[in-house]
Every structure is written in structure tokens, then in C-alpha cells.
Symmetry: none
Subunit: 217 residues, 4 copies
Amino acid sequence: MEGVRAMTGQLRADAKRNRDQILAAARELLVNQGVGVPMEEIARHAGVGVGTLYRRFPDRVALLRALSVHTVEHMTELARSALRTEPDAWSALSHFVRECVALRLGALRSIVDPQLHTALHQSDEVRSARKELLRIVEQMIITAQADGSMRTDVGVVDVAMLVSLHLKRPFDVPGTMPEELDARLTQLMLDGLRPASASPLPGKPIALADVDWHGDR
Amino acid sequence: MEGVRAMTGQLRADAKRNRDQILAAARELLVNQGVGVPMEEIARHAGVGVGTLYRRFPDRVALLRALSVHTVEHMTELARSALRTEPDAWSALSHFVRECVALRLGALRSIVDPQLHTALHQSDEVRSARKELLRIVEQMIITAQADGSMRTDVGVVDVAMLVSLHLKRPFDVPGTMPEELDARLTQLMLDGLRPASASPLPGKPIALADVDWHGDR
Amino acid sequence: MEGVRAMTGQLRADAKRNRDQILAAARELLVNQGVGVPMEEIARHAGVGVGTLYRRFPDRVALLRALSVHTVEHMTELARSALRTEPDAWSALSHFVRECVALRLGALRSIVDPQLHTALHQSDEVRSARKELLRIVEQMIITAQADGSMRTDVGVVDVAMLVSLHLKRPFDVPGTMPEELDARLTQLMLDGLRPASASPLPGKPIALADVDWHGDR
Amino acid sequence: MEGVRAMTGQLRADAKRNRDQILAAARELLVNQGVGVPMEEIARHAGVGVGTLYRRFPDRVALLRALSVHTVEHMTELARSALRTEPDAWSALSHFVRECVALRLGALRSIVDPQLHTALHQSDEVRSARKELLRIVEQMIITAQADGSMRTDVGVVDVAMLVSLHLKRPFDVPGTMPEELDARLTQLMLDGLRPASASPLPGKPIALADVDWHGDR
DNA sequence: GATGAATGAGCCTTCATTCAT
DNA sequence: CATGAATGAAGGCTCATTCAT
């Protein structure tokens, strides 16, 4: 029984609850205060001791990695659900992107320290979660390009990198920017991906197959 | 004499040299290593002792502020020069944006800590430097919109915020992304600002006059 | 029944097995990794949870004490057996010493923290186990001195302290020292105890009766 | 000037004083409390802040290394001086050994953690200091063996390892052991090195040339 | 009883800033 | 003035021990 637990990643009920609380706390604090948040503050926020946090995630990088995977998986669900609900591929893509932005799913875009950034992505779990997401998005793109609703000189990686620029929570002095700013910027970005606007781009479309290390969350 | 010097912001030649070396070192290290760089490393890189650094800039925030002003002033020069050289307003704007991206003028976009971010902008010097830049860019925009080469539902602040998203140095695992990626993303963004692509935006254009705290560097 | 069990130090079979496994694990890890080994690692090595370890030994000192007693008792058996097997007292003594060294019976000589060391010896069990051992060794010595095979200006405590110096596992860069080193050093020590070599010693022979706190394990 | 300072290992007067105080404090605390002493306590004892300690010695291992070199150099002086003062090689050797024991020059023999031990000796400075010492001692030994005052079946490394066993400060409950104990044990050891006592040793004499990693302080 | 999760005190180390030389 | 030494607060992490399951 214990063995099965370990294999399937099951944890004792309370341990699982703690783990989830920690991830939630980390996510919130990261969004609001940047990657620098003290581990102790994350622990306190999650209602546990530091020791518990460290038992679950051996160090800061491990925590960020788990969070990263968690986020990417969330995005994958959103993408799948958009494909199901929306009438066509372009609507699905833009709906998906708007949701990601609105849900602030880019907490980890904040990571600006190169060591940390690299460490974060040296994880198969992170990489494979991202690859799965990108595969779905690539399908959306190919379909949208086929039916003429999207410019054809871009690949998933172009799109992923572009979108990821919009996923960083902007730390503006609160209240000085209109609510709709995020939505406006996102729409401007999406408009740039339409065929009508296409002006020549340097280089060639970058597809999933063209990079080793695939896009960024 | 000393008094005049102080008043006009003149410094003795070597002092000026020190100041410039420090700013250059800070800029380089910030770009390459993120905002975490120790003051001592900046000093070493600049070839001075920490003491000297602190004499010039009372604390870390002051240094970052100075760097911010310096960068914005650099951008202002680029904008002016683009207006002079380019045939029309839209070319000027896009040329200017491409230059900023290429020169990695967004080192401080890296700042992700909200306290720090706020502190940075609580400076009249920073604010007025930015206001000056935005005034010029606003002129470009208005002209470009008047001659039909730019969509009319955006304001400077929209554009500034959008551009600023592209100014952050992307910390990718080195060598995995094609050289042209930055240029491609920039072009996609510019294409989104063209009239051909315009789809309805939520809210209204945000102009310089619409915000208290004006855009972001 | 339970009462009798408790009194006679009997434990249920599995409990006894646990206890022994823990002691064995502790001994091995102590020998190989120094006194710093985490309790949790000892438990894991013994194939039990920490909880079990703590049920058996209320704290780290208690564990070390038990180990100490265990070791001393082992030495006592070796001494007795040597007396039975060897033709004379000196052979018995030297055989016994060589065995102790070879079996690395000095794991706890590693204890270098004075608080810990003191705590360890503030235990009647430890003290009486050691006293028993020393009584036997004292017999060997007296007999050997009487038949002229050992110098007469030393007492058990001298010998015990001397031997104990050789019981610490030497942490050398593995493989750089010849296998026989331990045996060579032990022999050099034994040779120093022979009458032929005797040169005057400061002070007087220290016998069991001369000290309060008797020798060292 | 500064350059010269760096090259010759010269420090500003106050810095040098601090460095010495730190080494002295470390030595004392190590002798009395084992290698576990908190860095902070060493700093306090030396009358400086932790920061200062860490500026001088980047980490605990560096401090221990410095101390090790310092000690070995001290021993080297003692050995040289003994050679000068004593009438013959054997007297020089035994005088030297007695002095080392009396001065408690074995604080670092306390190091029982194998990682730490290894780390300590992965230092050219430590190794070359030790090699120099061992060369001198080897001379003493060869000469003493030549004039018949020392058994001929041992090499420096044998002697060094043997002596090093006696250099660890014994942590006995204070006051329970007679003052002369150390001197008695040392004498017993020296007697074992005399020709009169020689009984056959397993293996062959281990000389400086026979090991890669040379003895242990 | 056994297990391993949770706790938190404590040590190590870094770095912004101050101050003696 | 420039320098770099000193300081100490703050954060990361470990591990002995307790306690819920």
C-alpha cells in the first residue's frame, strides 16, 4: 500500500493538503512580491512550518519547478477546453491566450535571474509538460493558418515566446493603470498574428521541431 | 567655483569618469545577471571600491534610479534621431522601437520586486525623463495615425506598455533560440499596431494625459 | 508477565530485532560517517521509522550510551575468550588488543564534543560495564607483569587510555595507506609495554583504584 | 603597493590583527569544544563580527585549513629547533614529540567527519606544509636509526601516524585524570620505537616516498 | 506499536551599508 | 577622496524531537 502510494505520487491526506496549500501560497506571493519571497513567508502563508515546506520541496528551485509544472498543466487544460468550446481554431487560440493573461498564469515569467531560470528548466517534468502544451497550441496554429485566419509565417515557438511576454504580472503602482490595459495589450498582440497585418519577418517560422529547448512555459 | 560646479551638476573629470564606469558596469551586470548583483561586484567591475560607489550613489535604489534616467535619456535621443532620419512617423516609431530592443535597453524591466519597482519610480527625475520621452513618442503616434499608417484606437501609454514588454532581456538557455527571435517578435508587435489589423479593443486609447504615473520607462 | 518481561529486560522478539538493527546501523554509520549522522538516516538504515528509533532510545545520547555499553560488553567477551584461549597473560592481552583494533571497536572514540562525551559517561550502566572490562584487563596485566613479560611501571588505566587512542577509526583518504598500517601501529604500541623497552615514566602507575572516572570505554 | 601587499600576503595592520585573533580564537575553541563550534562563537571570541570572519576565511573549511597550516608550521619550527638544541637525533625526535603533545598541537586531530577531513587535505598549502615537516622528521629518524638509537623497521609515515594518535586532546571529565597521564602515554609510545623492544611488524617501513598523501599532521 | 509528517530552533552564509585608514 | 575592512540583519537549510494517523 505504501509502495503504491509512493509510485502514484499519493500522499497522506494531510500531507497532500499541505502540499497544495504551499503551492497556492507560493503562487500568490510570487505573483505579488516577485521570486524573492522568503521561504519562511511562503510557509507562514501556507500555515505550515519551514520544515514542512522543505520536506515537500527540497529547495527553492524544486518549489518553483513544481509550481511551473502545475501552471503549465493548468494552461494545457485551458487549451484543451478552448478547443472543445470555441467554434474555430483562431477563436480557441485567442480565447486561450486571454484566459491565461486574465488568470495571471505567468507568475514565473518574473524569473529574471539567469541561474535560477536555467535551473528551473533543467527538469524533465517541466520540459515534458511544456512540450505537451506546445503540441496542442501547435495544432491550433496549424489549423488556424489552414483556414486563413492566421498569418502563416509564424510557428508555435514564435507564438509561445510572444505570449509569454504578456504573462508577466506588471508591477505598476496599483491603481494608476486602467483595468482594461492587459486586455488591450493582449488584443494588440493577437491582431499582430492575423494575416491582414502580415509584413515580412526576418528568419523563418520556428516550430516545435526547430528548437531543443522548447519555448518558455 | 565649487558652488557653480555643484549647481550645474558638473563633476571633476575623474569623478565623472567614475560615475560613468559605475553606471556602465551596473548596466552590463544587470543585463547579464539580473537585479540581484551585489553592489561589491558592480564596484569591482567598474574598477572602483565600494566606498566610491556609495559616495556617488547613496544606496542601491539611487543607483538604479540613475541608471533608469540614463536609459530613458538614451531612448529619448534615439527617438529624436529617428524622427530626423526617417521619412515618416511610422518608420520613425518602428525604427526607434527596433533599436531599443536591439540595444537591450530594458535592463530594468528585470525589476520584479514591487517594492523596488515602486521606489524606483518615486523619483521626479525618473518621472520627468520618462514624460519627456513619452511626449516625443506621442507625437510620432499622432502623426502616424493622422497619415493613416497606424491604428487610431491606441494611445502612447498603450504603446509604451506594449513596447516595454519586449525590452526585457530574455534569459533563455543560450544558443537554443534563433538570433532573429527578438526581431521577429518585435515585428509581430509592430504589425499589431497597423490599421489593417485593427479589431475592437476594450476601453479607450490611453494617452499621456490619462494617467498619473506615466507608463513604464 | 509483562511485568517480569520489563524487569528482566526482555522484549518481544520483533522489538528486540528492531533494537539490534538500530544499534548495528548506528554503529556502522558512526564508523563510516562520524558522529554527525542524522537520526533519520540511522533509522532508515535500520529499516525502521524515526518514531520507532525514538521509542527504543529516548534521545541521541541514549542511543550512543546503549551503543557504548554494547561495545564494551563485546570487548569484555573478547577479553574473557582471549584469557581462555591464549597460553599466557601477555598473549591474551595483545591478542585482545589486536582484535579490538581490527574490529574497529572504537567508533565512539570519534566523539569529540565534550558535552556529548561527558553526557555519555554520566551513566551508571556505561560506567559499570567499563569497570567490569577493566577488572579483567587488570588481571591480565598483573599476571603478565608477574611473569616478567610486561613492564611494571604501568597500570590498567595507563594501558586503557593508551589502547583507546588506537581505537579511533582513522579517516584517511581511502586507499592511500597500506592495509597493515593499523596492525603496525598497534604492534609498536604493544612493544612499548614490554620490559625491555622500559624507560622511566613520570608519575606512578595508574590502577583502577586510582581514578574516580575509570579510563575511557 | 597594494599589489605587493596582495602578493606577499600582507594585510592592513588591523586586518592582520583580526586574522590572528580569529585563528587564535578558533584554535582555542576547537581544542575545548570540538570542530562543531559555531562560526559565530568563534567570531565573538575573537572580538569581531561574523562578516569579518567570513571575509577572511570564505567558509569553515578554509578556516580549518588555515589553522592546519599554521599548526604544521609551528611544528616544523619546533622540529628544527629541537635538531639544533638536542645532542642527538633521538633526543631531538623525542623532545619534539613531547613538546607537540604538551602544547596540544593536535586540535585538528579531532576531525572525525570524513567529508571534512578529506576537504581539509585537498589543499596544496596543507599538503606542502606537511611534506616539509615530514622531511625534517624523516631526517631525524634516519639519523637515529643509523646511530642505533631507534628501531629500523619503521618509516616516517609510521611514526607520523603514531604520533598523531597522541595529539588529539583527550576530552576527559576534567580533573579525573592525573596531570602526567599525557606524558606517560607519550613515553610509552616512544619506548615502542626503541630497538630493544622491536618485535616483528607486518608489512614494510612506510617512508615519505611510499605514500601519495603523506601521513596526517 | 509503527510510521513518517510537522515543527522550529539553530547554524551557515551573504550582502547592503558604514566607517577607519 | 578612495579604499576596502567591519558589521549585523536576514534568509537558506538541516535535523532533533514531537505527535497525528
